[in-house]
Symmetry: C3
Subunit: 338 residues, 3 copies
């Protein structure tokens, strides 16, 4: 059994990504359909969700399917992911059983599993969703782990809606302050998708310690060279914003301090001025702005930016609905015997 | 954009209320339909719910729609409601984004947000649902905040089923003891709807401190004068029950002690005898009895009262289903471009 | 009103059980249908659930119905079960109201309510689900209390799929170690259904203290004599496994220590070797193995056993979906006026 999952946009060819975006655009024009008629998806949330859960649940229903939402360790049993474990701890069952049983009830399984934030060497292996993918007999969809591929598609779709062709556009991914050290998933994903679209990408962050994992930097450089774009790092706010056509903001914790956040905290606190504000946006070339949400106003971006016509965060969030319907429908098609 | 929400029955004309009740009666006769076909509602619960959640979810489904249930701060992110806030506290996102994003996924948004019970001057502004209404681009429905308009409709419908024309009927809203200081929402709502129906309303409570907020007392007097009824306050149990045709019970905390419940507790404890029992009901003129539920038996009303044929609390609870379907369907109609 | 509930397989005749299994087999072949069109079920979970909740929710939907999931005391109000209680404790409403209101919204009510694990004399009365059955005006389904009849049907269905006729087959229910003292529900149920199917049943447990409640032992003996099988107890692992055709594993706490688990703990710890492993399975006559799940790997059964072709736990879990659809459809038929 060789199942096609949706764990990363890197697993899709560029034509497949374009196919997903085209399908999403069709769903945006015509929201109801039968492409998931009689199909069920299990949505497993190990972390909170507002947009992902709402848009998957509603999107599935709009296409004739049904989503069941489970929170393992809360309303469902705690799950063990380590192979060959003598399970005398807290977990009541093993992912081997959970994934196989849900595969009998459902046609698709979605999993949100953020890092544990203790050891990046462990978290970067993305063991939870990989275990689901290994044991499931139906396609598994990444609802955000250490990347967030559904957000990538929604982001690309929204940028295209505003800008048309993305190749060669100047794109800035800017780090912002946040009181907690957050997941790098959306930052990793922003690099992946912007380089995939052939954009000229600048990763703006306070210091070299905030550069993302080399896995994503390398993938970004490779994507850029294959798709006619570029990827570089900058620590100079003015220089990075100047002439930018897209500004995308995200906060994340510095990987060298992963799990030792009290040590990173004073460093992070020095960079509150990375907030996206109207003065910075004025440096851009009529730049548009977005963030994946949730966003703390006046911490990551000012009210003025969030409420400006150039902010497309709400459009991007809406597009989650459309792209995810496309992901579900295409995944089933890609996995159906022809 | 001038959206018609359902935040209070006071925002509806009397003919509109009658229209809602008529539609509800049709849904009671014929429960399945397509009036919400393809429509989705987000139900946001900041507080527990049994009836509201079940009846909205099932009612939406019975009319061809879908309800997604969210618990912000639990399964979804915590939400900030204060405008212009520098969001460095617990909330991860602002209602401005939540309301706008859900408006893209859904056709309706329902919100349950009880008071915080710290400062009535703040709670009486009903900021949570007003913020949703301000930012949403779809109609917002009040699932109980400081009033409970869906309960009002269910209550009016159930009284009509038992009594026919309500104008001039003697109606008693009686305070009862409860171990905790509860929300005044249903008490406020009982005053509003009973006076709206032109009933002769007595608010029975232990002392003047338990009289409801003057906003609702004034609205009740105004409703009464417009609809041929009356509103008065009594602290005399026997006098209030005598010849009553409807007794409606609710417990609430005394507003002068709002947030200082330890000070109110000994006062409240002296009035346990406000419990609705068979002796009191015997004073009425074949009076019928109800309560919005949940109800603590033998604290607010005796088993004998709850199980008596004159108790219509279960009918009223059932009617939640029917009236809410009417609210959803009419709200969409009222907001649709003609 | 004389409602037919589904609280125990013992309330069904053998032809009715066969009818349920036949209907389940039809649903397994053809999963979509309209047998629950327009019907709603409330699923009340007082305890966690993965399989039960997913399979009921999806199964209801596959037949055109809708399931609403409630967690009393969490997202819904806490419920009192004691009759005539002066409700000044934690519970906000009484099962009398909850059951009657849900009966107005729904066509079926499912209840999961594990023992409280304080006093077996209380827990064995199964008061929660009995209270629902007493007050509801629609059929009530047992989602696991002190028995687990839905699991029984799934188990019987899966055994028949593997073995065909079950009468006279050698069946071993083996106790296993678990770090916590668990519910006896599935063990009780395994005895009931295996004896009902006329199997030669051995209850294997470490000591006489682990024998199940005499109510289930007696029912098992009675079932066996009526259906051509047998029931005996063994404390000898090798002897019990030898020539077994089915091994079913479950852990449970010893009833004499009920609620005093610290006293039972050292006894239980001595019997970790009851784990189902390949050496034990090798003693069987090509025996097949199952467990109701959730299962702690390498505590209750080894990886080798769980991943062996003779393990049918996943098939049994799948069958939950099919049998429960049959239970819902048949219950409505059994209760419909003819």
């Amino acid at each position: 059994m060789n199942i096609r999952h949706f764990l990363s946009t890197q697993d899709c060819t560029r034509p497949e990504l374009d196919e997903l975006l085209a399908q999403a655009a069709r769903y945006k024009r015509d929201k109801l359909g039968r492409d998931l008629a009689g199909r069920a998806i299990a949505l497993l949330f190990f972390n909170p969700s507002m947009r992902t859960r709402s848009s998957f649940e509603i999107g599935t229903w709009q296409l004739g399917g049904h989503a069941v939402v489970l929170a393992p360790g809360k309303d469902a049993w705690g799950i063990e992911f380590e192979p060959r474990k003598v399970m005398d701890g807290e977990a009541e069952e093993h992912v081997a059983e959970v994934a196989r049983v849900l595969s009998r009830y459902c046609d698709l399984i979605g999993v949100r599993a953020f890092p544990k934030f203790v050891d990046w060497a462990v978290d970067r292996e993305d063991l939870v969703i990989k275990a689901f993918a290994r044991h499931a007999t139906v396609p598994v969809i990444n609802l955000e782990t250490i990347t967030h591929p559904c957000q990538e598609l929604a982001h690309a779709m929204a940028m295209r809606e505003r800008l048309g062709e993305l190749r060669g556009r100047k794109y800035v991914l800017t780090w912002t302050y946040h009181p907690k050290a957050l997941n790098t998933a959306v930052a990793n994903s922003a690099l992946l998708i912007a380089t995939r679209m052939g954009m000229d990408v600048t990763l703006l962050c306070p210091t070299p310690e905030y550069v993302l994992d080399e896995r994503y930097m390398a993938a970004g450089r490779s994507n850029a060279s294959e798709n006619g774009g570029s990827l570089r790092v900058s620590h100079d706010i003015d220089e990075a914003y100047r002439d930018a056509e897209v500004v995308y903001a995200k906060s994340w914790g510095a990987l060298p301090y992963f799990g030792r956040w009290e040590a990173e905290k004073p460093i992070r606190e020095q960079h509150r001025h990375f907030i996206v504000d109207e003065a910075k946006m004025a440096l851009t070339r009529d730049g548009i702005f977005s963030h994946c949400l949730p966003l703390r106003r006046n911490i990551k971006a000012t009210d003025g930016v969030m409420d400006a016509p150039y902010c497309f965060a709400i459009d991007e969030a809406e597009n989650r609905l459309h792209v995810q319907k496309a992901v579900m429908a295409r995944l089933l098609a890609w996995n159906s015997p022809t």
